[in-house]
Point group: C2
Chain length 97, copies 2
């Protein structure tokens, strides 16, 4: 079964938060919100990603959820407002405007 | 199929964010992170919730994802660090300490 994984996090340290975001991007996930990413992943790799992130965060203050779901359910996700990608395009355009 | 719904949001206005959180709680969802809730829901009710939230947020600045997934997949979610509920208990204990 094609699997998607949604990663949602609350991370207090700016530097750690940036490293986690970069790590998720390097694993092929893309950002859907300020602190949420989604991407395709084999179930076995979820644990590898968890171990990697566990070594970065402060377990006393931070929280990360790595949520598996079938791709066909991800495609039934309802999105309200302005998706993250479009917001960045908009703000980039504003900068050049 | 028993369905869970994860709601993740980026909302700029503090008052709107509080109203959305309260609405999600009143719909029986519980908070898993600062801006993420989860709960059981019939698929048909997802659209009703979406319409309700759409009327609250600013579509130009805010983003909400309403993500459906089977309960058995939610139960395979990996949680790193301190889950939201335990953090509140810890900080409440600190206050009374």
């Amino acid at each position: 079964m094609a699997l998607r994984v949604v990663v949602v996090y609350d991370i207090s340290d700016d530097g750690v938060r940036l490293r986690v975001a970069r790590t998720l991007e390097s694993w092929g996930l893309y950002r859907i919100q300020r602190s949420a990413f989604v991407g395709r992943m084999q179930r076995a790799r979820m644990r590898d990603l968890a171990r990697l992130l566990e070594g970065m965060i402060d377990p006393g203050t931070d929280t990360v959820h790595i949520i598996p779901l079938p791709s066909h359910e991800w495609e039934r996700t309802l999105v309200l407002g302005t998706p993250w990608g479009e917001r960045r395009v908009a703000s980039a355009a504003l900068l050049q405007g």
